[in-house]
Protein backbone atom coordinates (compact mmCIF):
# COMPACT_ATOMS: atom_id res chain seq x y z
CA UNK A 1 0.00 0.00 0.00
CA UNK A 2 2.81 2.38 -0.76
CA UNK A 3 0.68 4.08 -3.40
CA UNK A 4 -2.97 4.88 -2.79
CA UNK A 5 -5.35 5.75 -5.57
CA UNK A 6 -7.41 8.78 -4.55
CA UNK A 7 -10.69 8.73 -6.52
CA UNK A 8 -10.25 12.47 -7.08
CA UNK A 9 -6.47 12.88 -7.54
CA UNK A 10 -5.18 9.51 -8.77
CA UNK A 11 -2.12 7.69 -7.47
CA UNK A 12 -0.39 9.39 -4.55
CA UNK A 13 2.09 8.41 -1.85
CA UNK A 14 0.52 6.78 1.23
CA UNK A 15 1.97 9.43 3.54
CA UNK A 16 -0.55 11.90 2.09
CA UNK A 17 -3.45 9.89 3.50
CA UNK A 18 -4.91 8.93 6.83
CA UNK A 19 -7.20 6.02 7.62
CA UNK A 20 -10.31 6.56 9.71
CA UNK A 21 -11.61 3.09 10.37
CA UNK A 22 -14.57 1.04 9.31
CA UNK A 23 -16.85 2.53 6.63
CA UNK A 24 -20.59 2.23 6.08
CA UNK A 25 -21.63 2.72 9.70
CA UNK A 26 -24.66 4.96 9.29
CA UNK A 27 -25.27 7.56 11.95
CA UNK A 28 -28.46 6.68 13.84
CA UNK A 29 -31.43 8.93 13.16
CA UNK A 30 -33.69 8.25 16.17
CA UNK A 31 -30.98 9.16 18.65
CA UNK A 32 -33.32 10.21 21.45
CA UNK A 33 -34.78 6.71 21.59
CA UNK A 34 -31.48 4.83 21.62
CA UNK A 35 -30.39 2.68 24.55
CA UNK A 36 -26.90 2.77 26.04
CA UNK A 37 -26.16 -0.55 24.37
CA UNK A 38 -27.13 0.81 20.97
CA UNK A 39 -24.97 3.90 21.50
CA UNK A 40 -22.04 1.74 22.61
CA UNK A 41 -22.46 -0.46 19.56
CA UNK A 42 -22.53 2.54 17.22
CA UNK A 43 -19.62 4.43 18.76
CA UNK A 44 -17.18 1.74 19.88
CA UNK A 45 -17.81 -1.75 18.52
CA UNK A 46 -16.16 -2.67 15.22
CA UNK A 47 -15.87 -5.75 13.02
CA UNK A 48 -12.05 -5.39 12.87
CA UNK A 49 -11.81 -8.23 10.33
CA UNK A 50 -8.74 -10.23 9.40
CA UNK A 51 -9.34 -10.05 5.68
CA UNK A 52 -11.20 -7.62 3.46
CA UNK A 53 -12.14 -4.39 5.17
CA UNK A 54 -14.17 -1.45 3.92
CA UNK A 55 -12.79 1.67 5.46
CA UNK A 56 -12.79 5.46 5.31
CA UNK A 57 -9.73 7.34 4.13
CA UNK A 58 -8.96 11.04 4.01
CA UNK A 59 -6.58 12.60 1.50
CA UNK A 60 -5.16 15.02 4.12
CA UNK A 61 -2.23 16.36 2.19
CA UNK A 62 -4.01 16.55 -1.15
CA UNK A 63 -7.60 17.33 -2.02
CA UNK A 64 -8.67 16.89 1.65
CA UNK A 65 -11.63 14.84 0.53
CA UNK A 66 -13.01 11.67 2.10
CA UNK A 67 -13.41 8.44 0.21
CA UNK A 68 -13.85 4.75 0.92
CA UNK A 69 -11.53 1.86 0.24
CA UNK A 70 -11.71 -1.89 0.11
CA UNK A 71 -8.44 -3.24 1.47
CA UNK A 72 -7.13 -6.55 2.76
CA UNK A 73 -5.86 -6.22 6.33
CA UNK A 74 -3.32 -9.06 6.10
CA UNK A 75 -1.64 -8.11 2.83
CA UNK A 76 -2.49 -4.39 3.15
CA UNK A 77 -3.42 -4.58 -0.54
CA UNK A 78 -6.02 -2.14 -1.84
CA UNK A 79 -8.66 -3.80 -4.01
CA UNK A 80 -10.45 -0.56 -4.82
CA UNK A 81 -11.00 2.99 -3.73
CA UNK A 82 -14.37 4.60 -4.34
CA UNK A 83 -16.27 7.78 -3.70
CA UNK A 84 -18.66 7.95 -0.78
CA UNK A 85 -21.68 7.96 -3.09
CA UNK A 86 -20.42 5.15 -5.34
CA UNK A 87 -21.74 1.58 -5.12
CA UNK A 88 -19.60 -0.75 -3.06
CA UNK A 89 -17.14 -2.71 -5.18
CA UNK A 90 -17.42 -6.49 -4.71
CA UNK A 91 -15.15 -8.46 -2.42
CA UNK A 92 -12.85 -10.62 -4.58
CA UNK A 93 -13.66 -14.30 -4.71
CA UNK A 94 -17.06 -14.03 -3.10
CA UNK A 95 -19.25 -14.03 -6.21
CA UNK A 96 -19.77 -10.32 -6.33
CA UNK A 97 -21.00 -9.90 -2.74
CA UNK A 98 -20.69 -6.29 -1.78
Amino acid sequence: MFIINCPYCGDRDQTEFSCHGEAHIPRPTETAKMTDDEWGEYVFFRTNPKGYHRERWLHDHGCRRWFNALRHTVTDEFVATYKIEDPRPPIPGEGGRS
Binding site: M1, F2, Q14, T15, S18, C19, G21, E22, D36, D37, W39, G40, E41, V43, F44, F45, R46, T47, N48, P49, K50, H53, E55, T73, V74, T75, D76
Partner: protein, 414 residues
Protein backbone atom coordinates in the same frame (compact mmCIF):
# COMPACT_ATOMS: atom_id res chain seq x y z
CA UNK B 1 10.74 -30.13 37.57
CA UNK B 2 14.26 -29.69 38.82
CA UNK B 3 14.99 -26.26 40.24
CA UNK B 4 17.54 -24.08 38.55
CA UNK B 5 20.35 -23.02 40.86
CA UNK B 6 24.03 -22.26 40.91
CA UNK B 7 24.61 -25.94 41.78
CA UNK B 8 22.52 -27.24 38.88
CA UNK B 9 24.42 -24.89 36.60
CA UNK B 10 27.74 -26.22 37.84
CA UNK B 11 26.54 -29.84 37.65
CA UNK B 12 25.33 -29.43 34.08
CA UNK B 13 28.50 -27.63 33.10
CA UNK B 14 30.34 -30.88 33.89
CA UNK B 15 28.37 -32.59 31.12
CA UNK B 16 28.73 -29.71 28.68
CA UNK B 17 25.09 -28.67 29.22
CA UNK B 18 23.80 -31.65 27.25
CA UNK B 19 21.60 -33.07 29.99
CA UNK B 20 19.28 -30.23 30.94
CA UNK B 21 15.72 -31.42 31.19
CA UNK B 22 13.16 -29.89 28.88
CA UNK B 23 11.63 -26.77 30.37
CA UNK B 24 8.11 -27.95 29.53
CA UNK B 25 6.42 -30.96 27.95
CA UNK B 26 4.68 -31.02 24.56
CA UNK B 27 1.66 -33.18 25.32
CA UNK B 28 -1.12 -34.19 22.96
CA UNK B 29 -4.33 -32.39 23.80
CA UNK B 30 -6.79 -34.20 26.05
CA UNK B 31 -10.43 -34.34 25.01
CA UNK B 32 -11.56 -31.97 27.76
CA UNK B 33 -10.11 -29.47 30.22
CA UNK B 34 -11.58 -27.46 33.07
CA UNK B 35 -10.16 -24.30 31.51
CA UNK B 36 -8.77 -23.71 28.02
CA UNK B 37 -6.67 -20.60 27.50
CA UNK B 38 -6.47 -19.40 23.89
CA UNK B 39 -3.08 -17.83 23.26
CA UNK B 40 0.37 -18.79 24.56
CA UNK B 41 1.81 -15.35 25.04
CA UNK B 42 2.90 -13.92 28.36
CA UNK B 43 -0.61 -13.03 29.53
CA UNK B 44 -2.08 -16.41 28.60
CA UNK B 45 0.75 -18.39 30.16
CA UNK B 46 0.62 -16.23 33.29
CA UNK B 47 -3.12 -16.87 33.52
CA UNK B 48 -2.55 -20.63 33.29
CA UNK B 49 0.28 -20.45 35.83
CA UNK B 50 -1.82 -18.64 38.43
CA UNK B 51 -4.85 -20.85 37.75
CA UNK B 52 -2.75 -23.91 38.50
CA UNK B 53 -0.66 -22.57 41.37
CA UNK B 54 -3.09 -20.29 43.21
CA UNK B 55 -6.63 -21.19 42.16
CA UNK B 56 -6.43 -24.98 42.44
CA UNK B 57 -7.34 -25.56 38.77
CA UNK B 58 -4.55 -27.50 37.11
CA UNK B 59 -6.60 -29.28 34.44
CA UNK B 60 -5.79 -26.43 32.08
CA UNK B 61 -4.57 -26.20 28.49
CA UNK B 62 -2.88 -23.29 26.80
CA UNK B 63 -3.49 -23.44 23.06
CA UNK B 64 -1.08 -21.53 20.87
CA UNK B 65 -1.23 -21.40 17.10
CA UNK B 66 2.48 -20.67 16.70
CA UNK B 67 5.21 -20.87 19.30
CA UNK B 68 5.24 -19.52 22.84
CA UNK B 69 5.74 -15.79 23.03
CA UNK B 70 5.94 -15.49 19.24
CA UNK B 71 3.38 -12.71 19.04
CA UNK B 72 3.45 -9.44 20.91
CA UNK B 73 5.28 -10.98 23.88
CA UNK B 74 8.35 -11.35 21.69
CA UNK B 75 7.82 -8.11 19.79
CA UNK B 76 7.49 -5.41 22.42
CA UNK B 77 10.17 -3.10 23.77
CA UNK B 78 10.22 -4.81 27.20
CA UNK B 79 9.39 -1.72 29.24
CA UNK B 80 7.83 -2.07 32.68
CA UNK B 81 6.26 0.84 34.57
CA UNK B 82 3.20 1.66 36.64
CA UNK B 83 3.02 5.44 36.33
CA UNK B 84 -0.56 5.76 35.14
CA UNK B 85 -3.01 8.55 35.79
CA UNK B 86 -6.25 6.83 36.77
CA UNK B 87 -7.03 4.75 39.85
CA UNK B 88 -8.17 1.65 37.96
CA UNK B 89 -4.96 1.66 35.90
CA UNK B 90 -2.81 2.25 38.96
CA UNK B 91 -4.53 -0.73 40.58
CA UNK B 92 -3.76 -3.00 37.67
CA UNK B 93 -0.27 -1.85 36.72
CA UNK B 94 1.00 -1.48 40.29
CA UNK B 95 -0.36 -4.94 41.05
CA UNK B 96 1.75 -6.13 38.14
CA UNK B 97 4.78 -4.16 39.33
CA UNK B 98 4.66 -5.78 42.75
CA UNK B 99 4.52 -9.21 41.13
CA UNK B 100 7.42 -8.28 38.82
CA UNK B 101 9.51 -7.46 41.85
CA UNK B 102 9.44 -11.07 43.06
CA UNK B 103 8.89 -12.84 39.76
CA UNK B 104 12.31 -14.36 39.13
CA UNK B 105 12.30 -15.89 42.61
CA UNK B 106 8.73 -17.11 42.33
CA UNK B 107 9.26 -18.73 38.94
CA UNK B 108 12.81 -19.93 39.69
CA UNK B 109 13.56 -18.42 36.30
CA UNK B 110 15.61 -15.31 35.66
CA UNK B 111 13.31 -12.89 33.86
CA UNK B 112 16.10 -10.29 34.03
CA UNK B 113 13.81 -7.74 35.60
CA UNK B 114 15.88 -4.60 35.90
CA UNK B 115 14.48 -1.62 37.81
CA UNK B 116 16.82 0.78 36.09
CA UNK B 117 14.41 3.67 36.23
CA UNK B 118 12.05 5.08 33.65
CA UNK B 119 12.36 8.72 32.70
CA UNK B 120 9.48 10.44 30.96
CA UNK B 121 10.45 13.76 29.35
CA UNK B 122 8.38 16.93 29.04
CA UNK B 123 8.97 19.32 26.15
CA UNK B 124 6.25 21.94 26.48
CA UNK B 125 4.08 23.73 29.01
CA UNK B 126 1.35 21.24 28.21
CA UNK B 127 3.73 18.33 28.84
CA UNK B 128 4.78 19.90 32.15
CA UNK B 129 1.15 20.20 33.21
CA UNK B 130 0.50 16.64 32.15
CA UNK B 131 3.39 15.20 34.18
CA UNK B 132 2.45 17.45 37.07
CA UNK B 133 -1.09 16.14 37.11
CA UNK B 134 -0.09 12.54 36.51
CA UNK B 135 2.85 12.62 38.93
CA UNK B 136 0.64 13.86 41.74
CA UNK B 137 -2.05 11.31 40.91
CA UNK B 138 0.61 8.60 41.05
CA UNK B 139 1.73 9.83 44.49
CA UNK B 140 -1.85 9.75 45.73
CA UNK B 141 -2.04 6.11 44.66
CA UNK B 142 1.06 5.37 46.73
CA UNK B 143 3.32 4.74 43.74
CA UNK B 144 6.81 6.20 43.40
CA UNK B 145 7.62 8.99 41.00
CA UNK B 146 9.84 12.04 41.09
CA UNK B 147 9.88 15.31 39.20
CA UNK B 148 13.20 16.21 37.64
CA UNK B 149 14.53 19.54 36.42
CA UNK B 150 16.36 19.70 33.08
CA UNK B 151 19.63 19.87 35.04
CA UNK B 152 18.78 16.65 36.86
CA UNK B 153 17.85 15.04 33.54
CA UNK B 154 21.24 16.06 32.16
CA UNK B 155 22.98 14.62 35.20
CA UNK B 156 21.24 11.29 34.65
CA UNK B 157 21.81 11.32 30.91
CA UNK B 158 24.94 13.26 29.98
CA UNK B 159 24.49 12.42 26.29
CA UNK B 160 21.06 14.06 26.03
CA UNK B 161 20.60 17.21 23.96
CA UNK B 162 18.37 19.33 26.21
CA UNK B 163 18.17 22.15 23.70
CA UNK B 164 16.71 20.09 20.90
CA UNK B 165 14.00 21.50 18.65
CA UNK B 166 11.47 21.04 21.46
CA UNK B 167 13.71 21.66 24.50
CA UNK B 168 13.49 19.36 27.51
CA UNK B 169 11.69 21.31 30.25
CA UNK B 170 11.49 18.59 32.89
CA UNK B 171 10.96 14.93 33.54
CA UNK B 172 8.98 12.42 35.55
CA UNK B 173 11.07 9.56 36.89
CA UNK B 174 9.78 6.24 38.14
CA UNK B 175 12.80 4.57 39.71
CA UNK B 176 11.00 1.24 40.06
CA UNK B 177 10.32 1.19 36.34
CA UNK B 178 12.64 -0.55 33.95
CA UNK B 179 12.82 -3.53 31.65
CA UNK B 180 12.54 -7.31 31.70
CA UNK B 181 13.55 -10.00 29.27
CA UNK B 182 10.36 -10.59 27.32
CA UNK B 183 11.03 -14.15 26.10
CA UNK B 184 12.10 -15.24 29.57
CA UNK B 185 8.77 -14.07 30.95
CA UNK B 186 6.90 -16.36 28.56
CA UNK B 187 9.32 -19.24 29.13
CA UNK B 188 9.37 -18.82 32.90
CA UNK B 189 5.58 -18.85 33.15
CA UNK B 190 5.39 -21.77 30.70
CA UNK B 191 7.86 -23.80 32.76
CA UNK B 192 6.05 -22.98 36.00
CA UNK B 193 2.62 -23.73 34.54
CA UNK B 194 3.80 -27.00 33.02
CA UNK B 195 5.28 -28.10 36.34
CA UNK B 196 1.92 -27.41 37.97
CA UNK B 197 0.16 -29.68 35.48
CA UNK B 198 -0.88 -27.33 32.68
CA UNK B 199 -0.75 -28.74 29.14
CA UNK B 200 0.93 -26.32 26.76
CA UNK B 201 -0.06 -27.14 23.20
CA UNK B 202 1.85 -25.28 20.52
CA UNK B 203 1.28 -25.25 16.76
CA UNK B 204 -2.41 -25.74 17.38
CA UNK B 205 -4.68 -23.04 15.98
CA UNK B 206 -8.13 -22.34 17.32
CA UNK B 207 -10.44 -22.36 14.30
CA UNK B 208 -13.78 -22.12 16.04
CA UNK B 209 -15.49 -21.61 19.38
CA UNK B 210 -18.27 -24.10 20.04
CA UNK B 211 -21.21 -22.53 21.82
CA UNK B 212 -24.32 -24.44 22.95
CA UNK B 213 -27.26 -22.75 24.68
CA UNK B 214 -25.22 -19.56 24.81
CA UNK B 215 -22.58 -21.39 26.85
CA UNK B 216 -19.11 -22.20 25.58
CA UNK B 217 -18.37 -25.93 25.56
CA UNK B 218 -15.00 -26.00 23.86
CA UNK B 219 -12.87 -24.92 20.94
CA UNK B 220 -12.36 -26.33 17.47
CA UNK B 221 -8.67 -26.48 16.67
CA UNK B 222 -6.36 -27.63 13.93
CA UNK B 223 -5.85 -30.74 16.10
CA UNK B 224 -9.53 -31.42 16.62
CA UNK B 225 -12.18 -30.43 19.12
CA UNK B 226 -11.07 -29.71 22.68
CA UNK B 227 -13.82 -29.53 25.28
CA UNK B 228 -13.67 -26.94 28.01
CA UNK B 229 -15.62 -26.00 31.11
CA UNK B 230 -14.45 -22.44 30.74
CA UNK B 231 -12.50 -20.67 28.01
CA UNK B 232 -10.24 -17.65 28.49
CA UNK B 233 -9.29 -15.85 25.31
CA UNK B 234 -5.95 -14.06 25.63
CA UNK B 235 -5.36 -13.65 21.92
CA UNK B 236 -4.17 -10.03 21.76
CA UNK B 237 -4.23 -8.93 18.11
CA UNK B 238 -6.54 -11.79 17.16
CA UNK B 239 -9.15 -11.17 19.85
CA UNK B 240 -11.66 -9.81 17.34
CA UNK B 241 -11.20 -12.97 15.28
CA UNK B 242 -11.94 -15.18 18.30
CA UNK B 243 -14.93 -12.99 19.19
CA UNK B 244 -16.31 -13.38 15.68
CA UNK B 245 -16.04 -17.19 16.06
CA UNK B 246 -18.12 -16.89 19.22
CA UNK B 247 -20.64 -14.62 17.52
CA UNK B 248 -20.07 -11.15 18.93
CA UNK B 249 -18.05 -8.01 18.24
CA UNK B 250 -15.38 -6.36 20.38
CA UNK B 251 -14.65 -2.63 20.77
CA UNK B 252 -11.21 -3.18 19.26
CA UNK B 253 -9.24 -2.21 16.22
CA UNK B 254 -5.87 -3.67 15.29
CA UNK B 255 -2.85 -1.69 14.19
CA UNK B 256 0.79 -2.54 13.52
CA UNK B 257 3.19 -1.25 16.18
CA UNK B 258 6.81 -1.18 15.11
CA UNK B 259 10.06 -1.37 17.02
CA UNK B 260 13.68 -1.48 16.01
CA UNK B 261 17.06 -2.27 17.50
CA UNK B 262 20.47 -0.86 16.72
CA UNK B 263 23.80 -2.57 16.49
CA UNK B 264 25.15 -3.36 19.97
CA UNK B 265 27.27 -0.73 21.66
CA UNK B 266 28.86 -0.32 25.08
CA UNK B 267 26.59 0.82 27.94
CA UNK B 268 25.40 4.35 27.22
CA UNK B 269 21.85 4.65 28.58
CA UNK B 270 21.22 3.17 32.02
CA UNK B 271 17.50 3.93 32.21
CA UNK B 272 14.47 3.87 29.96
CA UNK B 273 13.87 7.25 28.28
CA UNK B 274 10.51 8.07 26.83
CA UNK B 275 8.96 11.15 25.36
CA UNK B 276 5.34 11.57 24.40
CA UNK B 277 6.00 15.09 23.21
CA UNK B 278 8.40 14.30 20.40
CA UNK B 279 7.34 10.70 20.35
CA UNK B 280 10.08 8.18 20.86
CA UNK B 281 11.26 5.82 23.56
CA UNK B 282 14.57 4.08 23.95
CA UNK B 283 16.40 1.76 26.31
CA UNK B 284 19.51 -0.36 26.03
CA UNK B 285 19.31 -4.12 26.18
CA UNK B 286 21.82 -6.18 28.13
CA UNK B 287 23.32 -7.16 24.79
CA UNK B 288 24.03 -3.48 24.15
CA UNK B 289 21.47 -2.87 21.43
CA UNK B 290 19.34 0.24 21.66
CA UNK B 291 15.69 -0.82 21.66
CA UNK B 292 13.62 1.91 20.05
CA UNK B 293 9.91 2.40 19.56
CA UNK B 294 7.30 5.08 18.98
CA UNK B 295 3.70 5.15 17.82
CA UNK B 296 1.56 2.66 15.99
CA UNK B 297 0.61 2.89 12.36
CA UNK B 298 -2.81 4.48 12.05
CA UNK B 299 -4.60 1.97 9.83
CA UNK B 300 -6.23 -1.38 10.59
CA UNK B 301 -3.88 -4.21 9.82
CA UNK B 302 -2.91 -7.75 10.76
CA UNK B 303 0.23 -7.60 8.62
CA UNK B 304 2.97 -7.48 11.32
CA UNK B 305 4.98 -5.12 9.10
CA UNK B 306 4.09 -1.46 9.46
CA UNK B 307 4.82 1.41 7.14
CA UNK B 308 8.22 2.75 6.22
CA UNK B 309 7.58 6.40 6.98
CA UNK B 310 6.93 5.58 10.64
CA UNK B 311 10.53 4.45 11.00
CA UNK B 312 11.58 7.96 10.02
CA UNK B 313 9.14 9.37 12.57
CA UNK B 314 10.85 7.18 15.16
CA UNK B 315 14.53 7.78 14.44
CA UNK B 316 14.05 11.50 13.76
CA UNK B 317 13.24 12.44 17.37
CA UNK B 318 15.74 9.85 18.61
CA UNK B 319 18.60 11.59 16.80
CA UNK B 320 17.30 15.00 17.86
CA UNK B 321 17.35 13.95 21.50
CA UNK B 322 20.62 11.99 21.28
CA UNK B 323 22.61 13.39 18.33
CA UNK B 324 25.39 10.83 18.72
CA UNK B 325 22.95 8.04 17.84
CA UNK B 326 22.77 9.41 14.30
CA UNK B 327 25.89 7.39 13.51
CA UNK B 328 24.38 4.11 14.69
CA UNK B 329 23.11 1.51 12.28
CA UNK B 330 19.74 -0.08 12.92
CA UNK B 331 19.92 -3.86 12.72
CA UNK B 332 16.35 -5.08 12.82
CA UNK B 333 12.84 -3.72 12.50
CA UNK B 334 9.56 -5.54 13.07
CA UNK B 335 5.96 -4.98 14.04
CA UNK B 336 3.36 -6.60 16.24
CA UNK B 337 -0.39 -6.36 15.86
CA UNK B 338 -1.84 -4.43 18.77
CA UNK B 339 -5.52 -4.58 19.66
CA UNK B 340 -6.49 -1.08 20.71
CA UNK B 341 -9.54 0.13 22.59
CA UNK B 342 -10.76 3.67 22.26
CA UNK B 343 -9.80 4.57 25.85
CA UNK B 344 -6.43 2.82 25.57
CA UNK B 345 -7.26 0.61 28.55
CA UNK B 346 -7.52 -3.18 28.42
CA UNK B 347 -10.57 -5.42 28.59
CA UNK B 348 -10.77 -8.14 31.23
CA UNK B 349 -14.33 -9.25 31.12
CA UNK B 350 -17.12 -11.72 30.91
CA UNK B 351 -18.72 -11.82 27.47
CA UNK B 352 -22.19 -12.34 26.02
CA UNK B 353 -21.33 -16.08 25.96
CA UNK B 354 -21.43 -17.83 29.35
CA UNK B 355 -18.11 -19.21 30.64
CA UNK B 356 -16.19 -17.43 27.90
CA UNK B 357 -13.88 -14.73 29.25
CA UNK B 358 -11.78 -12.22 27.35
CA UNK B 359 -8.49 -10.62 28.31
CA UNK B 360 -7.48 -8.29 25.49
CA UNK B 361 -7.26 -4.69 24.39
CA UNK B 362 -3.84 -4.14 25.94
CA UNK B 363 -3.01 -2.19 22.82
CA UNK B 364 0.47 -0.73 22.73
CA UNK B 365 1.36 -1.43 26.36
CA UNK B 366 0.53 -4.93 27.53
CA UNK B 367 3.93 -6.37 28.36
CA UNK B 368 4.37 -4.41 31.58
CA UNK B 369 1.11 -5.79 32.91
CA UNK B 370 1.82 -9.46 32.17
CA UNK B 371 1.98 -10.77 35.77
CA UNK B 372 -0.87 -8.59 37.04
CA UNK B 373 -3.07 -9.34 34.06
CA UNK B 374 -2.55 -13.09 34.35
CA UNK B 375 -3.05 -13.01 38.13
CA UNK B 376 -6.26 -10.99 38.01
CA UNK B 377 -7.64 -12.93 35.05
CA UNK B 378 -6.88 -16.34 36.61
CA UNK B 379 -8.63 -15.47 39.87
CA UNK B 380 -11.56 -14.00 37.94
CA UNK B 381 -11.97 -17.10 35.75
CA UNK B 382 -11.77 -19.36 38.80
CA UNK B 383 -14.39 -17.34 40.66
CA UNK B 384 -16.62 -16.81 37.64
CA UNK B 385 -16.69 -13.09 38.48
CA UNK B 386 -14.14 -10.41 37.68
CA UNK B 387 -12.13 -9.60 40.80
CA UNK B 388 -11.62 -6.13 42.26
CA UNK B 389 -8.61 -5.32 40.09
CA UNK B 390 -10.16 -6.57 36.86
CA UNK B 391 -13.73 -5.35 37.38
CA UNK B 392 -13.28 -1.76 36.12
CA UNK B 393 -12.00 -3.17 32.80
CA UNK B 394 -15.29 -4.83 31.92
CA UNK B 395 -16.53 -4.69 28.36
CA UNK B 396 -19.70 -3.06 29.74
CA UNK B 397 -17.88 0.23 30.13
CA UNK B 398 -18.28 0.88 26.41
CA UNK B 399 -22.03 0.88 26.91
CA UNK B 400 -22.27 2.56 30.30
CA UNK B 401 -19.71 5.21 29.37
CA UNK B 402 -17.48 4.53 32.39
CA UNK B 403 -14.36 4.59 30.25
CA UNK B 404 -10.87 4.47 31.77
CA UNK B 405 -9.45 7.12 29.54
CA UNK B 406 -5.70 6.64 29.70
CA UNK B 407 -5.70 7.68 26.06
CA UNK B 408 -5.31 11.27 27.13
CA UNK B 409 -2.41 10.52 29.44
CA UNK B 410 -0.55 7.73 27.76
CA UNK B 411 -1.80 7.09 24.25
CA UNK B 412 1.67 7.36 22.83
CA UNK B 413 4.29 6.04 25.10
CA UNK B 414 4.14 2.56 26.48
Amino acid sequence: MKAYSLFSLARNAMSYHRNWQQAWRSPDPKSKYDVVIIGGGGHGLATAYYLATQCGISNVAVIEKGWLGGGNTGRNTTIVRSNYLLDASAGMYEHAMKLWEGLSQELNYNVMFSQRGLLHLAHSVHDMQEIGRRGNAIHLNGIDSEFLTPEQVKEMLPIINLNCRYPVMGGLLQKRGGTARHDAVAWGYARGADAAGVDIIQNCEVTGVRVENNTVVGVETSRGFIGAGKVGSVAAGHSSVIAEMAGFKMPLECYPLQALVSEPIKPIIDCVVMSNGIHVYVSQSDKGELVVGSGSDAYNSYSQRGSFDLIEHTVGPLCELFPLFSRLRMLRQWAGIVDVTVDRSPILSKTPVKNLYFNCGWGTGGFKATPGSGHAFAHSIAAGEMNKIAAPFSIDRFNTGALIDEGAAAAVAH
